[in-house]
Symmetry: D2
Subunit: 369 residues, 4 copies
């Protein structure tokens, strides 16, 4: 139990269900002296908000955030920052058979076994709305990272059979792409593929890639709180993620050592650097100063309009269709969630690694008196 906390020193606790009063998060351990206002957070929430185009659900939610504590005169005070997003679209409706059926690909069955019953309205705690807490907290982490010069960006790299072409990346296109891809051509093809899936009353999977730049070398706490281990946990904890890769990821199983090792070479300024970045910026679980690269494979949205064989609470199989409108893909709205979880992980590790040397403590506390 008690699984809604993330982080050790920069720590968050999220709460809320799809059709309850609201969704929120408390951020505890954010250093004092960070400029923060609601608009900083709203910008990220708007990126994950539904109803933006025909590939995301039509649920109309403003998802407006309120800062309830921890900020005084525009600055974080070092005390817990409580953020609240009220649910608006809680209209009582007929959940029909949902309460009595376990939908394939959904968490209905395990929730019922675990807790004895569940809040079946809109998926309850296992709804995608749960990610609001992650994104809101991630926005605060991002502000802290920016203060230290670190940039984090996530985008969609794969949708079904369509991948971005890495020789034609255009990050300015991400916001224009209805599916969040940094490649106009791939985006167009992905949209065509999505339309086809929707006509077939089906959904499809995809990949989100996240890159963190200017992360100082030295973050990560061997041997269990390694930076990659915590990124893997952070990203795998997002609903629908089935694989997490760092750097070249699954490809490394086919590499030889001479291909995979990032040798050093002097750059144009005569500074020695890793000539390649197969490692994705992490060696031995510690950041190595190169860009950190994380990739998450998302399964297709499990809610599809086709009839499927579901398990009933009565112990029998039922051929039923799931009504309502659902995103045909998860990835478009999930990119900002991956970004948030990456930012939260980095923020926590920045704080953890700050005390790795006696010398650092002396920088903070001054010489012995």
């Amino acid at each position: 139990m008690a699984g809604s906390t993330f982080g050790t020193v920069f720590k968050i606790m999220t709460w809320g269900e799809s059709h309850g009063a609201g969704i929120g998060v408390v951020i505890d351990g954010c250093p004092a002296g960070l400029a923060l206002c609601e608009a900083d957070i709203q910008a990220y929430l708007d990126r994950r908000r539904p109803g933006q185009n025909r590939y995301t659900t039509a649920r109309a939610e403003a998802d407006a955030v309120e800062i309830l504590s921890g900020v005084f005169e525009g600055m974080t005070t070092g005390t817990p920052i409580s953020l609240l997003v009220r649910n608006q679209d809680q209209r009582s409706r007929d959940y029909g058979n949902i309460a009595e059926l376990y939908r394939p690909g959904h968490a209905d069955y395990p929730y019922d076994v675990k807790y004895g019953f569940r809040d079946y309205r809109g998926g309850g705690r296992s709804s995608g709305r749960e990610t609001i807490g992650r994104v809101a907290a991630g926005a605060v982490a991002m502000k802290l990272l920016q203060e230290l010069g670190i940039a984090v960006r996530a985008y969609v790299s794969v949708i079904g059979p369509v991948s971005i072409d890495r020789s034609h990346l255009d990050f300015s296109f991400i916001e224009k792409s209805p599916v969040g891809m940094p490649d106009a051509l791939a985006s167009e093809r992905a949209v065509a593929y999505l339309e086809e899936c929707m006509r077939a009353q089906d959904s499809c999977g995809g990949v989100v890639e996240c890159v963190a730049e200017h992360v100082p070398a030295g973050l990560g706490e061997p041997v269990f709180e390694k930076l990659d281990a915590n990124l893997a946990k952070a990203v795998m904890s997002i609903g629908a993620v089935k694989a997490v890769e760092i750097g070249d990821g699954t490809l490394v199983s086919g590499y030889r050592g001479s291909e995979n090792n990032d040798c050093y070479a002097t750059d144009e300024n005569g500074v020695p650097r890793k000539a390649t970045n197969h490692s994705g910026g992490i060696l031995g679980g510690i950041s190595d100063g190169s860009p950190i690269i994380v990739r998450a494979s998302f399964k297709p949205t499990p809610s599809i309009a086709q009839p499927q064989s579901m398990l009933g609470r009565d112990g029998k199989c039922h051929e039923e269709a799931i009504h309502g409108r659902h995103d045909p893909i998860v990835v478009a709205r999930a990119a900002v969630v991956v970004e948030a979880m990456t930012a939260l992980t980095l923020a926590d590790h920045l704080l953890l690694a700050a005390t790795s040397r006696v010398e650092n403590l002396k920088r903070v506390y001054g010489p012995a008196r």
Copy 2:
């Protein structure tokens, strides 16, 4: 800092360096009343021990484990179980240029940046010997799982270009295979490929797959301590792992919803079950009662005999070769490590999930007095 603890209620702390006095682990939170002796643990350590064949390092270590506490009259007492494996092969030798060079693919550079210096003898804490603590603790977790009827098994599924053929799996062959594969033909091809790599003074990557059977539904604590999130962390924390997959893993990005959803169907006994297991036994971060499937992609051993361009502490690039003998693959000896990390994760989740309902507490403490 303080990254050597794993688990919340079934908790371990590992310690030790490659060329220090020894390697060990303390297991805290193991329930009382579990039969345990050194032979139970030694069996697992023997599986990861070096020097077993020409694809593992020649370092001669008995790796004999000693139980220092927590067991009385053959049973765990509920107090911490301290396990010690003395290092034997600590002969003073010439580490040559290692102390002054950052080897490609190794953690040398990030360790130095993080801590200001490092124990460079044999990789220090980032050595593969660190996994002794994991495997020893995993053996204890495994005993607990067995007591509850749970079985966990890991094996090598890929080495370089060679994959096992899932239509010809023979789990009894794993121990006979010099590379730990449950498929005689694949094993033979993998060995041939390895020989080729070794002739080319190179190493190669691979994949370990782990299956846990008879895990009760209901394990996993949403939304951050989900079972898959913690398995991802557990497995990604093993040195050389660059990707973790659950169930169909990266494949899901190419699936449609209708392909990926595990529909229900009645089995031969008329009991409804998931007809497929694309989910790998986990839905919404909670075990669903099906076998749990985890896969880890390991990079090739970074130590290769070819000269490589390394970074020196002097800030210059040096073309040097790494001397000594190294495993050409990691996976053969790593399978038992993946198994251990999976067992540790499941043991902790069994304890965590035991209190998910008020009703469970009443079963433990009896009715209100």
Copy 3:
């Protein structure tokens, strides 16, 4: 940083400042299946509410609690329970010199040194209003304890020179006493003493005692998470507490072993029991089945109307008085806070101790399949 979390498995995170938008708490890890409604919580909040009589501050706050998540159809679902109490009395006012002065006995100076600045409005996070989160969460813990037959009750035992007479305790009087004492005569004397203090523009200290009955033997996790250790932490974390005692507390330093040991004797039913309870229900850090007794010494309210020498942010001493109306004692309203912290500690330990034996796991998960 990140100090606003309490508990390991039954875990809470509180947030909120005196003059921010509100105060709240998220409870994570409460087992599913507990009947819970807002009235259950409100009853406890009403006991700590200000403005009840002339010995508590006149601040008019309804302190009405809203359950934002974690409860469905009147039952806890196992997901985080978020509780919100809006601050009403936030009227903008002149904080005068408070922002520039460090008040004696208050946390002003350490907060400023730690965080660089502080929310000086009404004490910010160090205000007594912070305890609303504790009390609200404690109410939920109390409901869980009651379900298992455990009763927890706190009351005031000392105010200044006045102590309750243990031969005349009347627990039904607690609610009638304006100072929360279970002894009519002592209450009357305490009130007289308080009036005297108030006339002298002064405040006074006191003691809260808390008793937990029907706690099963076996709670407490040696050697650092002992039940008494966690009770000490829980209670000492309440503002103004300067001492925590278990059982006979400080008196034991003057005892001989033969006086302090609780020998066993058969009771009227022939059942052997501890004949005395000097230990306060805890031996070796584990509950022994006898009533658990905790005592907290509270310092006098530091805000007094007399002029005092304060430190200014300008580095100079200033003779100033603190304006406004303040409780002359803390203990009357603090009893429910001690009760809450005791309940939270016990709830967490009930969950932790549920997995102390392999046998308990079998009771929860059934025999090995």
Copy 4:
């Protein structure tokens, strides 16, 4: 379960029973670059070692510590420091009735209820030998504190009816006093009282006081990880402690606010300081820069030679005496344990508080690149 870990960032895990193979501790999170050798630790262990005079048990143990990991070339490396003390005096002996009886004042009964059985040899994990792990780890914490100019010292202030006279303290006398008191006259009287107790086959209680000087203001993480809350937990977790006080402790319940508040005054150098230190160096749970004062009340040794009524595993009362030789007081050897727990708490808080401001992170990581 899993209660043998202490600390969040500077974290330790202790293990070991009285009559097992040994006692030890792993320290995880100690910053790199601290000079450390076995003699540093041995000095503290020697202070708690038995057999030093007739007021401590005759058990002959060298209690020699071995550093197994985490130190390279005389410096901590930032990796876990494993410390081992082998038990020597494990001679097989007749434990007689101990296995079948629950001794008054001992943890025998709760251990049996909790775990189903116990290691009854010499108290097992609840033996005073468990404190070896605390003291060894505390020695490392102390080294870190010293590096930052912080001094921690504990001594005996009360034995039975004898208290030190605060107007005649002589800290250089502590090591000469057979009972660890910094006052020759009190020490003499305490010894006389002890002799009297021993003649009466009895034991007696006492108080240990600990003072930490030059602790920077700003340590402590409100609202649950306050410095005083964690000191209370740390000290209450020591066996036999029944009360913990900070500063004036229980006395504050009798004070008026005007007596208890520490007003500010300019010292001889014109620097404003707290004129008094009733708060014991902690306000609002955060260190205020004044000396930190902690006091622990210890109960008398429960093992006494007089016959007592004990509970048997057979459910009946038995009049029996405890054989063997036992310390008539706990406090003499416990002072160094209180010192250790105080040092461990301060070390963890130094690391935690180092990231309380964004500005501190910039000092560690440099300006944004």
